[in-house]
Structure formats: C-alpha cells, structure tokens
Amino acid sequence: MMTIKLKIDKQDIEVPEGTTILEAARMLGIRIPTLCHHEALKPYGACRICLVEVRAGTARASTLVASCVFPVRQGLEVTTDSDEIREVRAGLLELLLARCPGSRQIRELAGEFGVHETPYTPRDHLCILCGLCVRVCDEIVGARAIDFSFRGQALDVKPPLLTPAGTCIACGTCTTVCPTEAVKLEEIARVPYGHAVSETHPGERCRVCGTHPTKPEFPANYDDWFPK
C-alpha cells in the first residue's frame, strides 16, 4: 500500500493512503473536536466542527476542509488551530448553542471556544442532527429503524417514512453514540420503546442474540451492557 507524507501542525507524519486528516492528527496526539464523527462509521462531514486549514504544495492560499472526511494527500500542510479556525468553530457553536441550549455537551464544547452565550433566539432542541444514530442503526446494527425525514430546517430523525418500522431491536446503540443524549430508550408497559428523537416505537426481538428485550432485567441504562 502506498503511504502519504504530510505535515500536521508542522510535524511530519507518514500514513497509509486513504487515511483522513483527523485520523492522522490523532496518531500524532493532536486533538481536533468532532461531533458527527465516529470511528466505526463511514465519513459524513456534517457538523463542520472538525474544520482545519490545508495548503497543498505551492498554493499560497489555504482552504478550510472537514478533517474527518478529507483524505490525506502527498505534501499537504495542515493547520489544526488558528484564529480563523477558532472563529469559524465559535460561529458554528453559537448556532448549535442556540439550537440546543439545554445540552451540556454543546455548552461545554462552546465554552472551550469562548462561546458562553448565543446571539440568537434560543430554541429547545437536544438533537443536533449529526446523523450518528441513523448511521449506526443502518451501518452497524442493520436495523434501519430510524432515518432522516424532511429537509432543511424541518430535518428530523424519525422512523423511516414516519411509520414505526418494527425493526428496532431496542439494542440502544443509538443512545450510546448520540453526542447530546437526545435519543433515549424507555420501557413502557414492559416493552422497550426507542425514542427516535420525536417518535416512539416499540422494539422487537433482537435477531442476533435472540434475547427478547422485554425481559424483566431490561436495564435502565444500556451503557452497562458495553465494555468499559
């Protein structure tokens, strides 16, 4: 396999072709904030928090790219922190804070970039529409029990075609990947219900482990099921 040499924050690194800038930066121990990225999932690039500056070869001007989706290129010079990057990230966090003023995670990240309040009229969402739950349910669980509906401002996470698909196995994976704790599982009359943000739909028997999720010891917190 071909390897690619590049510079991140003035440090040289050589990585296999196809590596993203984010992955390469992490190998160097450089932290780039992310919201919609997950190592187990395909690149998506929607929250834009992970923007970094890249400059190729002889080009004088640099451009901002999402590091989680941008594949490394030979001779690339990457800067992961600069006034411009901080300003754009702060601008994005002002928007997210206005969308989800109640989210602890967003408030904390915003604080890191000096954003403690938002100049816009706050709304009361928790979900930032990062799509992690939708993608994990599709790519990893294979249940495709939730999907995006509508577009633009109306974009929302719902069961596909707005009808409970009956394919949710109440595995809770969506709740563990959600960066803002917006998606929850809940037991109603001993049946676990996946709250795909704004729709509630009953779970079914898990086809992998065969356990019926309605069994009495159904834990309140699915985090307990995952290795620490």
């Binding site: 690039g45 834009r48 941008f70 754009v88 206005a98 816009y120 577009r151 633009g152």
Partner: protein
C-alpha cells in the same frame, strides 16, 4: 426537406407556446392552404429563439423578416399580404419604441445583433424534432470526425486547448475534468448531463434541450468516447415536459440511426443513454446530490473528495457536465480549439447564455461572447429599464449570486471578474432591478429561497441561513441595530467558509454584496427607521396631505380594511393602526394626495 420558396420558422419554445404559438401555427396552415400556397411556403416549428418577451415570434426565410406578437386574428392578413402579394406586414414587426420605425430584419434588431450563437447555434433554425435537420446543419459531423481521426487523448487535448469551462456554475475547466475521468481506470464509466436547472428565472438549459436536443447528445457522445464511458444519464427537471419529450424523441431517433448503441459508426465504441427525471429539489442540481438521486437515494450532497471522476455513480468513475457545456463540445471539435479560444477573455473562452429577466425592456435568452460588459447586455441588448426608471443593480448567478451596482456595469463579464465583484457566473441568470427595489428586502428574498432549499445536512447552512433570515427580518421590520450588521457579516462568513456544499457556501453572496455596495440602505433601515425604496412595509407610512386632497373618495372606496375616513369634498384621513400598507390608496389617488413616507 422539400424545396419551398419561403420557410416560416415559427418559435415553438415554452414561452411562445404558452402565448398561443400552436394556435397561430394551425391558423397559418389553414390560410396557406386556402391560398394554395402549400407547395411554396413551409412551416417549421423551431425551439426557443430567445425573445420570449415578444412571443409568439416567427422568422421568414430566406429574407430574414422577423414577426412578433402574432395572434390568430392577424394571420389571414399576414398570409395574404406577405406570402401571396409579397408585401411584408409592418404592423407585426418589431419597433424599439413607440413611434420609431419598425425593424424588419431579425439581424438588425438590437436584441439579436450583439449575440454570438454557439451553444444556441441552431435555435430558431431547425425543427428540433427532426434529426435530419440537425444532420443537415453539420450535426454529428464532430462525432464522425473523432471516431475516424482522433484518439480519446486528442479529443481531450482539443477541449483543454479550447479553454471551455463548465457552464453549470463553478466554471471548472472541462478538458481537465475529462482527463481525470479518463485516467480513472474502470470497466464501467458513466457520463451525466445535468439538466436540473433549478435557478428561478434561468431557462437556458431548457431552451437548448427544446431547440437543439441533438447538440447535447452529440456532445455527450464525444465526451463518452474521450473518457471511455459506455453509459450515460440525462438528469432533467420534472417541470420541463416539452424538453423531456424532445430529448427522448432525439434519443430514439439517434438509436434508429445507429448513433447510439453498439459499434457507433462502426468504431469500437458503445454508448447508451437514459433519461432520469429530477425530484424537484434545487439541491439535486449539485453533482453529488444528483448522483444520489439517480441512484434512488435521498438527494443530499456528500463531501468531496472523492470527486465523481474517481468515484461517482455506484462507485464508478463519472463525468458530469451541464447542458450548455455539452452543446458547445461538437462545435469545438468541428471548428477547432483555436477558433473557440479566439472568442472571450484570457481566462474565460467562448460564449455564455444569459437569461435576462426583471426590470428590463427585452427579457429573454441571449448568447454573448465572454468579456461583453454588463452595460451592453442590459442596455443595448436588453433595451434598458422600462418606464423611465433608474437602474439600481443586477443580480448575476441566480439566487446565490451577487448584486452588482451601477458603477460596476462596465465590468467585462467572465468568471474572474464576477468573482472579484463578489458575485458568480452561476448558470447565467441576470436579474435586473430598478430604483423601486429595496436591497435589504432583496437579500432577504434570495436568502429565504435558499434556506427553503437547503438540504439541512450541515450545521452552517441549515442553522446559519435560518439565523441570517431572522436578522434580515429584524432589519426590514424596524427592529434592527448596528450590532445586527456586525453579526450578519460575521455569520455570513461562517456559512461561506464552513458549508459542506456550494449551496451553503454561496448562499451568503446576496447579503455580502448588498452589504458591500448598498450598506447605506441597511443603515437607513436601522438608524432612520426608513426604507429608501419604500418597500419594507413595517417602515413605510401612508398619510393623506389635506392640502392636496379633494375629497373625491376614491381612496376610501379601494381601501380593503376601510381605514380611510372622510366626507365627500372634505380632506380624508388614514387610520394608521388599521392600515395594512397595501398601497391601494396611493395608486388610485389622482391628485397625488396620498403620501408614502
């Protein structure tokens, strides 16, 4: 084609058809029959010839007489006078202004005189539904030449040398794009024609597909040969039924002639084409969203790289070009790269089709060489601003383009010059505005369109456009502060820099350019609570000047909320609390007594 004395080239583009072109055609046929002229006069239904404002239009060949605003009742007189007695009818000719002499010949009309037709070379000249007419006008000769004489690499080097750049918006060099696709090794490659044309007011692609569908097919065939693609799609807007029908008919005809299919012209070159109808969203015109849509997925953009040339439709190398780009290709092959690159500016070669709309005398479709000034397009070809009003600005590049003010009208139109002015070439929409346009309201209008069309995937575009809209609402409704302006500019830059696709990254252009060129208007709204153009309802007030009012009661009668009071022959008064600012009183008053402030 039979040999007739006279050919009537009647425009059957969407504009003329909606103004009754087919009725006129039927009536022409009847009258010609009645006078026993069928052997001498033939009628050809052509595609749009661009002067939609004056439709239905017709050109009489060989003498080139141009008739406009034809109606069924004028046909008998026309046929008798011109085609029987040989006396062209002055009343149906074009005049530049009332009282000016008519201009009989098409090529002498200002609207047509400055145009250079390459992409639209066959418009108004051939019957788009007949492949033979296309072939008779050098059609498919470019394809024949490359298949006989040129290697794919030579084709690409010709296109590169010609300087052709994509006409769909970004202006990426076409030859370079083809080269990337050529170099991607794969068994299966695709070619796509982007005919989504979602910009409101733009209709050049529709017009090309309607007037000359084979030019697009031939361009795609040449491109397919060059990059080594064997399958193609034409992604066309659902709202273009006539264009869909014509392109499908053209594909069938090309298949019958062996121009599509296997071993085209006996060469080792197979290519087949399918038409896909768009789902109606503006964002589906963006190439990655378009490909998702063809694959049957939700039409949402994805990050690039990988570019379509590396991984496009179903993971195969794919080359996407715009309709107008494709239709330029055959002529370049036939007439040579040097000829093509002799037209235009150093960075932008050839011509560009613009749809000129808004407050301009001659609205329509024009093809002009790159480097022409905006002034020439608007004032010479477009005939200037109607009603003696003053020009204020022109928005180039559709809703996500920029507003260019009067002092930049001498700018020579090309990709770089427009970008320098903060605007874009986009697909070639030109919206002309006069003094009655409020630039803040205008920015809000375009923003609202893009906010509606945002796919919602990425944060800056979904959340940012919404907030920019809110700020503009505040300013136009009288709640604006100078802090708003600072925030607006900062937010516009965040959206521009951070958005995933070009919908988001170009959406702030109208705001940024109006802030750059018309900042005083924003400041009037904020500091003086005044809308200088008298557009923003919250900031205007209607009142009646008691001195001028004659008490004629006209205003009282038209007011929809009955908020005007007053006795006959006594000065009237408006109740400002109930006034909804519709302006009806202002329009109806003959004594100029209703004041708008």
């Amino acid at each position: 084609m039979k040999t007739c004395r006279t050919h009537l080239l009647l425009c059957a583009g969407t504009g003329c058809v909606s103004n009754g072109a087919f009725e006129v055609m039927r009536s022409l046929e009847e009258e010609i029959k009645r006078h026993n002229l069928t052997e001498e006069v033939s009628i050809v239904a052509t595609g749009c010839n661009g002067f939609c404002e004056r439709g239905p239009t017709m050109v009489v060949q060989p003498d080139g007489i141009f008739y406009q605003r034809l109606t069924v009742d004028k046909v008998p007189h026309l046929v008798e006078e011109h085609f029987l007695k040989g006396r062209p009818v002055k009343e149906l000719m074009y005049t530049e202004a009332k009282g000016r002499p008519p201009v009989p010949r098409m090529n002498d009309i200002e609207f047509f005189r400055h145009q250079v037709l390459i992409a639209l070379r066959n418009r108004g000249r051939i019957d788009p539904e007949k492949i033979d007419e296309y072939i008779a006008n050098d059609g498919y000769a470019g394809l024949a030449r490359i298949l006989k004489e040129m290697s794919p690499e030579e084709v690409i080097s010709q296109i590169k040398k010609s300087g052709l750049r994509g006409r769909g918006g970004a202006g990426f060099p076409t030859g370079m794009k083809w080269e990337f696709a050529r170099r991607s090794a794969a068994d299966l490659k695709y070619i796509v024609c982007n005919a989504d044309e979602g910009d409101p007011g733009a209709f050049m692609d529709r017009s090309i597909l309607e007037a000359d569908p084979h030019s697009v097919l031939e361009g795609m065939l040449i491109g397919a040969y060059a990059i080594g693609a064997s399958r193609g799609f034409i992604y066309i807007r659902e709202e273009y039924p006539l264009a869909v029908e014509r392109i499908k008919r053209a594909i069938r005809a090309a298949e019958e002639y062996g121009l599509l299919g296997e071993r085209i012209f006996g060469a080792a070159f197979d290519f087949s084409l399918r038409v896909v109808r768009g789902a109606g969203a503006f964002v589906c015109g963006e190439e990655t969203a378009l490909m998702a849509s063809i694959e049957g997925k939700m039409g949402r953009p994805r990050p690039r790289p990988p570019f379509p040339a590396e991984s496009g439709l179903w993971g195969c190398p794919t080359n996407i070009n715009n309709v107008e780009t494709w239709s330029n290709v055959p002529v370049i092959i036939l007439r040579g790269a040097d000829w093509y690159s002799s037209i235009g500016t150093p960075s932008s070669k050839g011509t560009k089709v613009f749809s000129v709309v808004g407050k301009v005398e001659n609205t329509g479709l024009v093809e002009v060489p790159m480097g022409i000034t905006l002034r020439k397009i608007i004032f010479d070809i477009g005939g200037g601003i109607p009603g003696g009003k003053r020009f204020k600005a022109v928005q180039t590049g559709g809703p996500s383009g920029g507003c260019i003010p009067e002092n930049k009208l001498d700018l020579e139109v090309d990709y770089e010059q427009l970008a320098e002015a903060g605007a874009i070439m986009g697909s070639g929409g030109l919206i002309v505005m006069d003094e009655d346009t409020c630039m803040v309201d205008l920015a809000r209008y375009f923003l609202a369109f893009l906010e509606d069309e945002s796919c919602g995937k990425c944060v800056p575009c979904r959340e940012g456009l919404q907030r920019m809209h809110e700020i503009l609402d505040d300013i136009t409704e009288g709640r604006g502060t100078m802090d708003h302006l600072v925030l607006l500019e900062r937010l516009a830059n965040t959206v521009k820099k951070a958005s995933l696709c070009a919908l988001g990254s170009t959406a702030p252009n109208p705001v940024l350019t109006t802030l750059r060129y018309f900042r005083d208007e924003y400041e009037s709204h904020i500091n003086e609570g005044r809308c200088p153009a008298g557009v923003c309802k919250a900031l205007i007030r209607f009142s009646i000047d008691p001195e001028a009012c004659t008490g004629c009661t006209a205003c009282r009668k038209v007011c929809p909320t009955d908020c005007i009071a007053g006795e006959r022959k006594q000065p009237h008064k408006i109740d400002p609390d109930r006034c909804i600012k519709c302006g009806a009183c202002h329009e109806v008053c003959k004594f100029n007594a209703v004041r708008k402030t």
